[in-house]
């Protein structure tokens, strides 16, 4: 499909069209936060928001996900069906989906839950004309107009959007819409200039290649005690992170002493002491030092060795969401400079 354009007024109509056919999730304001939620009208989408408070990972890997509903010893798997559109995903978050796929979408243990959510969802991204200055996607191989993990990419050309279908799925989503017009060569060129300018604006170098090469040998480095000193262990960084995927599985009963209820997979965090606490009382990661090291090592060393990619997309939510302003960029630079 050739590139299209759509005016900003028509985009709201396009969303309304999607809402007639699909469940549509988009950034919406919720108190002080902006999260991905279901919208009933195209005008409800907060597309001006540069960085949602929570990443859209919850659309595929919900904070709480019912694995089974049981009654006595009989259990059923709740299934969600019907196609849906996840609209307004920023390229870093789109890329994070390709990171999560490595864990949840494996041949050895296909996860029916995550796989189903991925399959039934069209992901529509919006490039970042003015990335916030805390962002660092470019330091990790990403781009403000990156395409990874997205089915469609929108580029804001002022009064209109350039619309590019990136996958066969994206083409299917757009194919019937009369609201789209063919993009001119000028539109396409303008989109390219925007992407380049945004990339140049994010001129952040965190010496990631040096870090990757040396991090494996830094397990016993005394720096971890220093870096983790101000950490409160609240785990906020792991909750707002688009690639953090650790979870717990808990059973919930409808009533105490009853035998019907649900088995729920819930987000968990490597920053909590109970995360690794053995039944014997032994804990291999007893303090912030080990837990902070685990978080950094997992993303920048273990993940790279296991899957060939860094488990960080540079969205900067962990630093903007940290109550003590622990800045992962500073942490990475400190480590790279050791």
């Amino acid at each position: 499909m050739d590139a299209k354009v759509i005016t900003k007024e028509k985009l709201v109509e396009l969303l309304d069209q999607f809402i007639r056919d699909y469940e549509v999730l988009a950034p919406v304001r919720q108190g002080d936060a902006v999260v991905f939620g279901q919208i009933q009208r195209g005008s409800d989408a907060a597309l001006d928001v540069k960085r949602t408070t929570m990443s859209p990972k919850g659309a595929f890997f919900p904070q709480e996900e019912v694995l089974f509903i049981f009654d006595g010893v009989e259990a059923q798997v709740p299934t969600e069906s019907g196609a849906r559109v996840l609209f307004g995903v920023r390229p870093c978050d789109g890329r994070s989906l390709t990171v999560l796929d490595k864990v949840f979408d494996t041949a050895e243990y296909p996860t029916v839950y995550y796989g189903n959510q991925r399959e039934r969802t069209f992901v529509v991204g919006v490039g970042c004309n003015q990335p916030p200055d805390t962002c660092f996607c470019t330091a990790l191989g990403g781009e403000p107009f990156g395409k990874a993990g997205l089915d469609v990419l929108l580029s804001d050309l002022g009064d209109r959007y350039l619309v590019e279908a990136l996958t066969e799925k994206g083409e299917r989503l757009l194919e019937d819409s009369a609201l789209l017009q063919d993009a001119s060569e000028e539109d396409i060129k303008e989109g390219k200039i925007l992407a380049r300018e945004a990339r140049e604006k994010l001129n952040v170098d965190l010496h990631i290649e040096e870090l990757k090469a040396k991090l494996g040998g830094m397990f016993e480095d005394p720096i971890w005690a220093e870096i983790s000193m101000s950490c409160l262990g609240c785990g906020a960084c792991t909750y707002v992170c688009p690639t953090c995927h650790c979870f717990d599985i808990v059973d919930e009963l409808v009533e105490v002493g009853g035998n019907s209820g649900r088995r729920v997979r819930v987000w968990d965090s490597c920053q909590y002491p109970l995360f690794t606490h053995h039944a014997s009382g032994h804990n291999p990661r007893p303090s912030h030092r080990e837990r902070m090291r685990q978080r950094i090592m997992h993303k920048f060393s273990y993940y790279v060795n296991n899957f060939g990619v860094i488990a960080c997309v540079g969205c900067a939510r962990c630093l903007t969401g940290c109550p003590v302003n622990l800045d992962i960029r500073e942490v990475l630079l400190t480590l790279a400079e050791r």
Binding site: C246, I249, P284
Partner: protein, 279 residues
């Protein structure tokens, strides 16, 4: 698509209280569906998640031999929420099982080798599975000399006494059972596992040593084995970690980049030396 989180239902066929304290019991399960049993093909050293709806799941090593096709056994110490609930169950109650998980013992390497088993306390379970597998008439000829050094705190804490008695009568097995402290009726060895290991001094020639037990026992047994000439590649450990999924996804049981549930729980001492000491 098969749901990897779905437990297969089994019925408790038999329970055996293993120790004097009464907090270690062996549960024998029979799968409700034969197809589920047929699908549950495991190797010694693997584990499974035992599941009680409304309570939760816990990872437990498989204690029976793969040769026992009619049932599976797990020996469970009463420790937390799930194991306590399990201990309250009786014959006929239903329990879910999902798995098997993990790599298991290196059966290819063990075939044709002499086997030295060094076990302490309750950690004997998967090595008991291995011993019964090796001693099975269909398998015995494929393995070399078998030496077992097994110890517990006191005579009452030795588990699988019925197996120990049976094994003691065999002439194709060198069995040394020891306790940290004996009692009036105890006539066997008294002493810690590492020192008994030193006295028995099994040959490292064409041998693999399998070590399972409390960390302190492992820490003192490994230098003895190295001194006896076992190379780090020929010393095999099985590790424990807090786990949830069993499939390398939930993120808590890793040592460096290796997940104990998926890449382990069985590691050679050489492999462990290459990993950060975070276990």
């Amino acid at each position: 698509m098969q749901n990897p989180y779905e437990p297969q239902m089994t019925v408790i066929e038999k329970t055996i209280t293993e120790n004097q304290a009464g907090d270690i019991r062996t549960f024998q399960f029979r799968f409700r569906e034969q197809a589920a049993r047929d699908a549950f093909q495991f190797v010694c050293g693997q584990f499974a998640e035992l599941s009680l709806w409304g309570v939760g799941e816990c990872p437990i090593g498989i204690a029976s031999s793969p040769m026992d096709q009619d049932f599976v056994q797990f020996t469970v110490k009463r420790m937390g929420v799930v194991t306590t609930a399990l201990h309250r169950l009786r014959e006929g109650n239903a329990v879910g099982i999902r798995g098997p998980y993990g790599n298991g013992y290196p059966m290819d390497r063990l075939a044709g080798s002499n086997i030295v088993i060094v076990a302490g306390g309750f950690a004997f379970t998967t090595l008991r599975s291995l011993t019964n597998y090796v001693l099975h008439p269909d398998n015995r000829a494929r393995f070399g000399k078998v030496t077992i050094i097994y110890g517990a705190r006191s005579p009452g804490e030795l588990i699988y006494k019925y197996d120990l008695e049976r094994w003691a009568t065999r002439d194709d097995l060198d069995l040394h059972v020891t306790v940290d402290a004996g009692d009036d009726s105890w006539t066997g060895l008294v002493g810690y596992v590492p020192s008994v290991l030193k006295d028995v001094a099994p040959s490292a020639d064409n041998a693999l040593a399998l070590v399972c037990g409390p960390p302190i026992m492992i820490r003192f047994s490994i230098p003895v084995l190295l001194e006896l000439g076992f190379t780090p590649e020929c010393i095999i450990n099985s590790l424990e970690m807090r786990m949830k999924c069993g499939m390398g996804k939930c993120g808590r049981c890793n040592i460096g980049g290796k997940y104990v549930c998926k890449d382990g729980p069985v590691f050679t001492y050489a492999e462990l030396q290459a990993l950060p000491a975070e276990y």
